[in-house]
């Protein structure tokens, strides 16, 4: 049984890492992404100014065990996005 939402784009339902130009990073389940925005569900934010972990440590922990779904939905304006990759593609360090 495949996805129920074949028309939503290849990242729909996939857990992704969204890095921002300001140094913050989101992990969440991608709803959609286009030239305007990236929409994530069940997302968690890493803000280097607010965390004891650096982004790499945080990503490595999430890569192994997953992320905490702290924000139900977040819309990230595309101009703020520096990269968008699948969490599963993050390499172990």
């Amino acid at each position: 049984m495949g996805t129920f939402h074949d028309d939503m784009g290849e990242l729909h339902g996939i857990t992704v890492v969204v890095s921002q130009h300001d140094g913050c990073t989101w992990i969440g389940r991608c709803h959609s992404e286009d030239d305007v925005e990236v929409i994530l569900h069940d997302a968690e934010l890493h803000d280097p100014a607010m965390s004891d972990e650096n982004a790499e440590q945080w990503l490595q922990r999430a890569r192994r065990f997953g992320h905490w779904p702290r924000v139900s939905t977040i819309r990230i304006p595309r101009p703020q996005v520096s990269s968008l990759v699948r969490l599963a593609e993050i390499s172990a360090s």
Binding site: H5, H12, I14, T15, R64, G66, P69, L87, A88
Partner: protein, 143 residues
Amino acid sequence: MPYPEELVTPMRRELSDHGVTELKSASEVDEFLGPEGGSALVIINSVCGCAAGGARPGALLALQSEQRPDRAGTVFAGQDTEATQRAREHCSQVPPSSPSMALFQGGELVWFLPRHMIEGRDPQTIAFDIISAFEEHCAPSDA
């Protein structure tokens, strides 16, 4: 809000018809992971077609391997909420995700496969990861 049971039933039976024990209450989860010891796989099932459609056949493939846990059980996220919550409590500090899988040895979590390592992957690839965990944690002792 739970999905209609008639939608979920085939997803339950995909596992339960192949020897995976359905756990529908907290007490059933506790008993399954309880004092009996040994190894146990818990599959956190989900309606998510993006990921669970590969998770179920991947788990069943892995459970055919020579080295496998003593028992396999499943809870259904979003449907059997009490059982799912208790299974997640047994996973202590691991963030909740579904579908996902947890391998226990003597009641202790020894391996976890989060949703993002399932979604978008074919059942054979998922099974390979699970079998690797079985080989590491379910191998018979030399004693």
